[in-house]
């Protein structure tokens, strides 16, 4: 049916015949005199073909895009949760989520920038280098939060590696760090002032190896004075204080690392061992489990958990973990200490 009725020119006068087709049988009670057929027709006024095709094209495009939606939504959720984890200083959680985002959305630069940031705080410098090389050449925007975090991290990262000019000198000593002449320390510092943090931690490490703990402590204090958040220095401090049986001091430095990264296994596992030595078995077990769950491949965390199981009399779990470690040479070597403690060969509370 084609409409012939022009509502612009016709009022709503009821003449008794349909204003569209002229037939009798107008349905009463409406403003326009229309018969049943015409009223039904106008109620279902046809939608032109081009509008239908336009709608179909939009729906087709929408259907195609919607197939991507679940994956994109999941990635967006992971990115959001990773950002929250970074705000909460939970960098292991953040790194795991960001790795998922980067795998799903390789074009997402922010995810790569945040991944580099999380990797730095997790001491995963291989991942940081990988992201840094991928991001090389991308624009840095001061207003972008990810850029600002990455910029901060990359400036700090320089403290963890020797400069290109220092590197050849170090190569000469790479197999015998302990033989470094301490007299070289000052010379190198004068020659390479930008490498202060690296040289200082290197010498502190050499001093620890040579059991020159007082010298090492002094060097580490100097380094911490320059940068109180240098995680490698803090890590050495924890080790050094453990060697000196200064457990409260060791705990203090563990907590300083954990203030930077709440999920730092380099602090969680040592802290668990210190608490075990202090007889706080349940707290130690909780920390050891947390450390192991955050880094299941970490041999030190694994051995710590075995010790925590042992002192909490969870012998079944302990033995399963020891058995599991036997398949990996690195884990087995760390577990050797735990086995010695368990068998009584090694004194855990010297």
């Amino acid at each position: 049916m084609q409409p012939i009725f022009n509502p612009d020119s016709t009022g709503n006068g009821h003449t008794g015949t349909c204003v569209n087709c002229g037939c009798e049988g107008v349905i009463p009670g409406y403003r326009h005199a229309l018969c049943g057929d015409c009223r039904s027709y106008f109620v279902r006024f046809p939608i032109p073909r081009w509008v239908q095709l336009f709608g179909a094209a939009v729906l087709l495009l929408l259907a195609l895009a919607l197939t991507q939606f679940p994956k994109r939504f999941s990635a967006a959720l992971s990115l959001q949760r990773a950002k929250q984890a970074i705000q909460q200083k939970k960098y292991v959680t953040a790194q795991r989520r960001l790795q998922d985002v980067v795998a799903d959305q390789p074009g997402c630069l922010d995810a790569k920038k945040y991944l580099a940031v999380a990797a730095f705080y997790n001491f995963d410098f291989a991942e940081l280098d990988r992201m840094d090389s991928i991001l090389a050449g991308t624009d840095i925007e001061e207003t972008n939060a990810a850029d600002n975090e990455l910029d901060y991290v990359l400036r700090r990262y320089k403290d963890y590696y020797p400069s290109d000019s220092l590197r050849p000198k170090l190569d000469a000593y790479k197999d015998s760090a302990e033989t470094l002449q301490l007299s070289l320390y000052n010379t190198w510092l004068q020659q390479y002032p930008d490498d202060f943090a690296y040289i200082t931690t290197l010498y502190a490490s050499a001093c620890i190896s040579l059991d020159k703990y007082a010298m090492a402590d002094s060097l580490l204090n100097t380094a911490l004075h320059r940068n109180g958040n240098h995680m490698r220095v803090l890590r050495y401090k924890v080790y050094l204080k453990q060697q000196l049986h200064q457990s409260d001091s060791a705990l203090y430095f563990c907590d300083r690392i954990l203030a930077i990264n709440k999920e730092a296994t380099i602090a969680l596992a040592p802290k668990a061992r210190i608490l075990l030595r202090q007889g706080k078995k349940k707290d130690a077990l909780q920390l050891a489990e947390e450390s192991y769950s955050l880094s299941q491949g970490d041999a030190y965390s694994m051995a710590t958990l075995a010790l925590a199981y042992h002192f909490n009399k969870k012998f079944g779990e302990r033995d399963r973990l020891i058995q599991q470690a036997s398949h990996d040479s690195v884990q087995a070597s760390y577990m050797e200490y735990a086995r010695d403690v368990i068998s009584g060969k090694e004194n855990f509370n010297p």
Partner: protein, 176 residues
């Protein structure tokens, strides 16, 4: 920046089409005869629907504000898959940009026009209009006029972008 409404409507014509289609569909659902539909024209108004004035005034209200719901929902839905690559990942593809353009165009034409407000106004001023409907409709008419003024300051475009980009971001924030 002032750009004449006709040009804005031309650039965002899919929204005009959906707006008029929404009026038409509400007429169909409420069994109100439609006599003429102009889905888009390069004129002012860019589109309109000529329909019988229903005897029940609430139908006039719903026919007039129907596009607000249809355009907003459709705009959000169409932009939904595309908004995340733009808002969260900053790596939109070509289809994403097309979908976002469609979504924003449709959502920004959600607001009823001044013509729609006049229909509501004349309808609720008829005798026998229930008080509850007047209480509901008067603020709606006022809002429509306010938004019409706001459109000089791109309020309609801001609304379109806000709902299409903002909704997926809100969804992610709520679920995270």
């Amino acid at each position: 920046m002032f750009i004449p409404g006709m040009y804005v409507s031309m650039i965002t014509f899919p929204g005009v089409v959906v707006h008029e289609l929404a009026h038409q569909l509400f007429c169909r659902w409420l069994k109100v005869p439609v006599f003429k539909v102009v889905y888009y024209q390069f004129d002012n108004p860019a589109g309109y629907v000529l329909h019988e004035r229903p005897k029940q005034q609430w139908k006039s209200l719903f026919i007039s504000i129907g596009p607000f719901f249809i355009n907003t929902l459709l705009g959000i839905l169409i932009a939904l898959p595309a908004a995340l690559p733009i808002a969260s990942f900053s790596n939109p593809g070509f289809i994403d940009i097309v979908l976002l353009y469609l979504g924003v165009s449709i959502a920004m034409h959600a607001f009823p026009s001044r013509g729609d407000a006049e229909v509501i106004w004349s309808s609720i001023r008829e005798e026998g209009t229930p008080m509850w409907l007047k209480i509901l409709a008067y603020p709606v008419v006022g809002l429509i006029h306010l938004v019409a003024i706001g459109s000089f300051f791109w309020l309609d475009a801001i609304y379109g972008v806000a709902v299409t980009i903002g909704f997926p971001k809100l969804l992610v924030a709520l679920c995270s």
